[in-house]
Amino acid sequence: MIVRVLGGLVALAFAELLVLTAIETFSPPTMVVPTNGVIAGPADDIPADQAALDALAARTSLQDYRGDTGPSPDAGTGVLAEGTPLSPGTTGESGAALVNSWLANENADAGILREAQHLEGHASLPAAQYGVLEQPEGRDFRRTHNGLIKDGGGWLIFGAGFLLAAFLLLRGRVPIGRSSEGTTIERFDGIERTNHWMTAVSFLALALTGLVLLYNKNLLVSWLGAEAASSLTSACLFIHLAFIAPFLIGVGLMAVLWLGQNLPDRYDWPWLKRFGGMLGDGEHPPAARFNAGQKIIFWGVMLGALVEAASGFTLIYPFFWTDVNILQWVLIGHAGVGLLFIAMIMGHIYIGTVGMVGAIHAMWSGRVDTAWAKAHHSVWYARATSPEAAGEHPGSGHRPDPAPAE
């Protein structure tokens, strides 16, 4: 009961965060107006009056993306105001004459009428990427990064937290469903557990430092100030790069240890159809060592790690094999997949700790209650305790020994 109430309180907290995210997502875009050197700052700043500040703000707003904020404030009424018929004009010109007058100005107007061009050539600077003089794709990148990725991260993480907490409130913890028999069986051996925790710690470090890197400019600078945010982000970048090695080694070892046991089998579809038996209190569907939900997590981790590693190495060595345009979208991909990864692992952490009674022991001590094993992984338990399995790798389980349940 207490656990459900706590779940409700956590769901409430995440709901409030979702409301804040919604406000951030749907409010009009803001632009930070620069003030350095304009207001009365330190002695070397040139002080200026309010008129100068207003002029600077107005000038900054001219840089707003017109797709979001509409025509520039300086724009006059266009030739084609809404409802303008083609044939009129104060001089009674026909439609053809109007079109001809437009065509006569075609060359003069071409510069402002065409889409922004990507300008690339040869610069006198030694690095090849400096030959790119204008790249309008950067505006699309900036809009995506400051819109979809920034707000999407809030929706994903707070949304996942809210759904999990609401599930805990409404469903409670998934029970074992049968009484303990007082005996345990080994589910994961020492190498599997050590590797899992090494990978988990590395993932948490990468996730938290990655979030700092993503939200530095949009959130941290306004919360901590530029100096503190800069120092924090700089440290987080170093830590982020340092934990790549243990994370990838851990994921690689997981692939070696568990890939064969995470291939689809005939128990997966019935398990998925019943949502693993987590919605009701009846008998759980049978499963081998890893059920369909765990296989989804496994393959999510494998693919996520692959994508993050490939995009991450591209970002560590910028311009090594690609140009700034591709790099921008590699960054978007790295951030987006990273956020999805975080939401997925939140679900994994929930079900392995709070969400299911008895689950944590599998990875903490390596031994689970035989009642838990029979309830949740009946096929694995049956294979593990068959006479042929005696003395085999703990992955298929030992015979249950009389060790009391922890």
């Binding site: 600077l125 090494m198 710690v201 090695a245 243990p246 903490w364 001590s365």
Partner: protein
């Protein structure tokens, strides 16, 4: 608990080693890999 602490220690040790390796690699990597660059002293474009 033991395996958790061992995993934690391994992760930290590998991260520290990786950090050192990263520093060494940074110092030995030619600057062309990064956006920083240096002009030769005789180049009139340089400040």
């Amino acid at each position: 608990m033991t395996t958790f602490l061992t995993g934690l220690a391994l992760a930290l040790a590998l991260a520290v080693a990786s950090g050192f390796a990263e520093q060494l690699l940074d110092e030995s990597t030619p600057t062309a890999f990064y956006t920083q660059y240096t002009y030769p002293p005789s180049d009139p474009v340089a400040d």
